[in-house]
Symmetry: C2
Subunit: 413 residues, 2 copies
Amino acid sequence: MKHHNLPVSPETVHWGYFSKAVQPAITVRSGDRATIETLTHHANDDYERMIQGDPAAEAIFHWTKEQKTISRRGSGPTEGPFKLGAGEGIGVHLMTGPVAVEGAEPGDVLEVRILDVRPRPSQSACYCGRCFGSNAAASWGFHYHDLIEEPKPREVVTIFELDTAGEPYAKAVYNYVWTPQTDPDGIIHSTIDYPGVRVDHNLVTKRENILQDIRVPARLHFGTMGLAPSEEDFVSSIPPSYSGGNIDDWRIGRGARMYYPVAVDGAYFSVGDPHAAQGDSELGGTAIETSLTGDFEFILHKKNDLGGTVLEGLDHPMLETDEQWSVYGFTYPNYLEALGKDAQTTIAHHSSVDKAMRDAFRKMRRFLMTAHNMSEDEAIALMSVAADFGVTQVVDANWGVHGSIRKNIFKCY
Amino acid sequence: MKHHNLPVSPETVHWGYFSKAVQPAITVRSGDRATIETLTHHANDDYERMIQGDPAAEAIFHWTKEQKTISRRGSGPTEGPFKLGAGEGIGVHLMTGPVAVEGAEPGDVLEVRILDVRPRPSQSACYCGRCFGSNAAASWGFHYHDLIEEPKPREVVTIFELDTAGEPYAKAVYNYVWTPQTDPDGIIHSTIDYPGVRVDHNLVTKRENILQDIRVPARLHFGTMGLAPSEEDFVSSIPPSYSGGNIDDWRIGRGARMYYPVAVDGAYFSVGDPHAAQGDSELGGTAIETSLTGDFEFILHKKNDLGGTVLEGLDHPMLETDEQWSVYGFTYPNYLEALGKDAQTTIAHHSSVDKAMRDAFRKMRRFLMTAHNMSEDEAIALMSVAADFGVTQVVDANWGVHGSIRKNIFKCY
């Protein structure tokens, strides 16, 4: 077993997409471990607290008229003229990786164990050692066209501080309504439509003393984690799909084991979108987006060894924790295949909790019938009396419902 | 404070509906307590285990060609000719009550605390003292038109036994596929379409050794509990609505406090649909349906006293437990008002998790803004990072999503 180190740097991140075509940052063998840094793509909501003084973050977010370190942000066009910028923000998450896995082939399953998750403290002079995150109630939020207070619509950024002295929790510091921001290339962003645009704090009005006496218990986790799909070379990081991605389940934190179907040779695992806390539904569009570092272990399960195990027939992402199994249902289990050429943009017109619930039901039934040898009637009775279905997210285009079943149900007595 | 006793009897139950027009079984004052028995309407799935030898259950379920103790079952017609039977099974739950609350008026809120919940043991010779329940994977289940094994479609009844020696759990005893059952009036029930039809065990094939090594942890709770709506004299017990009813949340068990808007003078509280265990979604159409007895406390909150409390502006059912608050969203917050004359039957054509999620979001926002004095921006940020939305049920016509927020978030530090 080798322990790898994968810090963030301009060479080890890619922005806004999963890809089978990107040069791997590292290559691991089954059983290897890696410490992997991740940066939140929302760090520029408060540059001073979340980027300044952090050499890697400064380098990655660097964007002037003369130089933009990471030009491509999203799976869209890389040749102008641009509406929003290179990559066109079709995909938004800063991803670390890919991590190639030796010997991984389509049909295999990659198990990723999260051994530990730690916040990345500020290195800024005024905030050194403290941890911050940003929540954006954004245009893609479930609430956006259903606001009651004026002005409507509006996007609101709330900056949180994470207290890690005891049981970690987050507390709001201030918020502001998004105002048009001009990027170094002269494009005006009237809404939050392209990642990494630095918010000019002279152009927003900060409101302090918000969410007073409110402490949000931390749920450190990675919102976006998964493998490169086979369908396209560049796949937006926004919609989750059969090989994982932006699942946005807060249970994908310390102690979690994620299982992903391998779609391309080498698996090409990437991780990003770190979160300090999130509720089931991620209602406003984002979590508390904060930079995190994780310790991971990679275990490759070869396709010929899956028969008779809980991984037999797995064609979707699945979570295992000490307490439960969760399967992830989406509006479309594989939206790239279902929607064809323009899938990455058109999926947003199909978002449906009803369809995600249907998919989660089918995946849980499959799991119980295949991995636990039940008849369909046994599986449905058990689901009805013991499986819990929750709304994972209603903001990632390919909306999600997770179905969970407790492990203690299966103990042999 | 007076402690009332409300056993089940032909005089203290009504079947399949909530009603402001039924004579109250008892009248209580705010602060009073009551021990209330409830019977599962699925007891006749196994008459021998769940009815035989239990005088009250035998009397209530009694139905011969000559005499049907409880004729009306549902809010439908009571004059024949019947397709299914009196009440036409528009509503299915055996309800105990109503409990009238002295001085309750529209605009008030009734708090119902569940102090304790206990199973009702069998009094049958062969099973005396043991506890049983029935799960029906029924025609109204989410799975019904999406089956993969033959014969399709089919309804399946699974009988469970509840072990209460230690930490209570349920274990499957046997199951059978529903076959056409002829009731004493000669009506043939090809599917489970009318409550209280005794299943002739000579007409079904029992399959034993099912769900082996599976233990379902008990979650004793009342699936259907609430107040009479004002819109109609007889309201189907199937769709939950603004004054509660068939919410089917397993959290409504011991220690829970439910808050209901009062819609009619006297409140008219009824409770039934007792469950031994259920998962979030109640996927197949029912829980483990089992007879239970509860100890309840009733507290009337007068409308003029609600301002400045967490109950201010409450126009929907809400749950409080030691850990959290939950609001209940439905496809339609008040389907009777929204859908008009034929609402009780047409609501089934409108079922939608997406709409229920929308309603749950709005109710949680209202709760945070009204009860916790937040701005809309604070409420939406907090929901996104700390509120959890889950699928309550996808089988009760007016489908439900619950939004929950933990109490420890609000502690003043």
